[in-house]
């Protein structure tokens, strides 16, 4: 999940400093990693999760990702039957403040999409690992799972990412 247009239109007029550096207050203590990570899932560094299964894998974004996005107001999903590729965008999540591309953690064919997200995009906030799932994919290259992180690796990854900014 790559954050595009982070502060929506504000970003444009931000005329942000060339330092591109967040102030030191942004790190530790106040921002210890506190989002939930679920065991048994695999994670991409762009903050999507995949629930592996031989036949069909379920894909969504992590609690950490939804926490940073804020309230989700619109979800754009691919059509059933389309194909997705590892690391490539398959849809987008819009929050009040930002548009974010969602990348697929694995390659394959989309066999089901979560149509509930059309009416209730906020499921991504309230239940990012369960009711807020986005697509189900028939994997074409099962070995791709090996390149993804385990829950403990992903927790560490998020801690480091938060701490370095």
């Amino acid at each position: 999940m790559a954050l595009r247009l982070w502060a929506s239109s504000t970003a444009n007029a931000l005329r942000i400093s060339t330092s591109g550096r967040l102030p030191s207050s942004f790190t530790p203590l106040s921002r210890l990693f506190s989002s939930s990570v679920v065991d048994g899932l695999k994670y991409a560094s762009s903050h999507e999760w995949v629930k592996p299964d031989a036949a069909v894998a379920t894909i969504g974004i992590t609690d950490h990702a939804q926490d940073h996005l804020g309230e989700v107001v619109f979800v754009e999903l691919p059509e059933c039957g389309s194909s997705v590729s590892q690391g490539e965008s398959f849809g987008a999540v819009e929050s009040v403040k930002a548009t974010s591309d969602i990348n697929s953690p694995i390659s394959g064919e989309v066999v089901e999409i979560n149509t509930k997200l059309t009416e209730t995009p906020g499921l991504i906030n309230s239940s990012s690992y369960e009711d807020g799932w986005m697509i189900k994919v028939k994997p074409s290259t099962p070995s791709e799972l090996e390149s993804l992180m385990s829950s403990s690796e992903y927790t560490k990854f998020c801690e480091e990412e938060d701490a370095s900014h």
Binding site: A7, A11, I16, S17, S19, S45, S46, E71
Partner: protein, 409 residues
């Protein structure tokens, strides 16, 4: 996949934007020094959970613990307190300060009553906007101006250059930049009742657009009844050593109902109010006429001109501009700036300059520029978002009705 984390990506984006804006001549000294400036309220923001981000060379809160949605709605139901000290307050003084500034802006400053202010635009030779700004006439020899943080350097350079020329011809004008002061914006239905607890002056006599100097919470403040949300409210210029005390007092007197609110919600609120954000909805090449600010061009100024780019602007007033700023409501994903606006047959008729999901109205709202003829309310359009078109309709602004405090006669 490596290195595409949320924060990293955001920083990449921020850096890209800043490099673009740095191409102009207006790099601030702070960004060159690589350090972000902090307002007097910086520690206060951090202590209240402010998520600090770089903004126009300053470290500013984009939001606090409340979500942007909650913050925006609370502003309209209770109230918001914003730190806007990054904006630049400036006093022009001298017996010729009014004729001088009238050479640079479209407002009829001479006709303003003492203690009143107006939104205006600093224009360039081509009639485009250098910045938008609120100017208050303290008296005939004193104007108080607030300009955008992102435009500070170029505005001061522009005003300073013309001021030297003006003085060279014997004009009496000088400036004072209020770096010793902080600026707080207090907005929403509780703004006036809460602020009244902190001053002996009767705020009931200070109407929308008016300016006064008074004691608030023991400090001498400049108070303007104005804002950037469409709600009733104030902008309070307070000596920086009193800024934290004033912020605390406002929150306390409201019993916590007025919430600290960051730049994220400020952007949603001003869009709902149909107000321009300089850099998005107004730029160097956009004239006040195209931006729909004809009302801000004083009657006498239309007759006499005498400001930069007057020939272009007066011609547009007479003949009508080729493009106009409009409001839009749409279905599907919220359009953002640069989303294309298409006509009924699929031809491009314009571009969105600001857009998002309205926290208060719970639907997509946007503003943008369309070719004249497509600008009327009710005109059906298509909005192109990520390669797909979605239905939209040209809509009157403000999207949320303004609640300015005006005399009821």
């Amino acid at each position: 996949m490596k290195g595409s984390g949320i924060w990293q990506f955001r920083q990449t984006l921020l850096r890209r934007i800043s490099q673009q804006s740095a191409k102009g001549s207006n790099r601030s000294f702070a960004t060159e020094a690589g350090a972000l400036k902090k307002t007097a309220l910086y520690d206060f923001h951090v202590a209240h959970g402010g998520k600090m981000v770089p903004f126009a060379g300053w470290s500013m809160p984009i939001q606090y613990k409340d979500s942007i949605m909650e913050s925006s709605v609370n502003c309209r139901t209770n109230g918001s307190l914003f730190d806007v000290s990054h904006m630049c307050g400036l006093s022009l003084k001298g017996k010729d300060c009014i004729p001088f500034l009238e050479t640079l802006v479209i407002a009829d400053l001479a006709a303003l009553k003492n203690g009143t202010g107006t939104l205006t635009v600093f224009t360039n030779e081509k009639g485009g906007a250098i910045d938008d700004s609120v100017i208050a006439k303290v008296n005939d020899k004193h104007l108080y101006i607030v300009v955008n943080a992102g435009c500070r350097d170029k505005d001061l350079e522009h005003i300073g250059k013309h001021m030297e020329l003006f003085k060279g011809k014997g004009g009496d004008v000088d400036w004072h930049i209020h770096d010793e002061r902080s600026l707080l914006a207090l907005q929403g239905p509780l703004a006036a009742p809460v602020l009244q607890f902190l001053t002996k002056d009767d705020l009931g006599k200070l109407y929308f657009g008016e300016f006064t100097t008074l004691d608030i919470n023991g400090a001498e403040c400049f108070l303007t009844r104005t804002g950037y949300t469409g709600e009733d409210g104030f902008e309070i210029s307070v000596p920086s050593e009193h800024a934290v005390d004033l912020a605390k007092a406002i929150i306390e007197k409201s019993q916590g109902k007025i919430r600290l609110t960051g730049l994220g919600a400020r952007d949603s609120l001003r869009l709902e109010a149909g107000l321009c954000l300089y850099g998005n909805d107004m730029e160097q090449h956009v004239t006040p006429v195209e931006a729909g600010l004809n009302w801000a061009i004083g009657k006498r100024r239309r007759a006499e001109g005498g400001f930069l780019g007057a020939d272009v602007i007066l011609k547009q007033l007479a003949e009508g501009p080729a493009v106009k700023r409009v409001g839009l409501v749409s279905t599907g994903p919220p359009p953002r700036s640069h989303s294309e606006i298409l006509g009924s047959t699929g031809e491009k008729i314009g571009e969105v300059t600001s857009g998002g999901f309205s926290p208060f109205l719970k639907k997509n709202i946007a503003m943008g520029y369309v070719k004249t003829g497509n600008h009327k309310s009710g005109t059906n359009v298509k909005l192109l978002v990520r390669g797909k078109t979605h239905d939209g309709v040209v809509t009157k602004m403000p999207f949320v009705p303004a609640k300015y405090y005006k005399p009821t006669s």
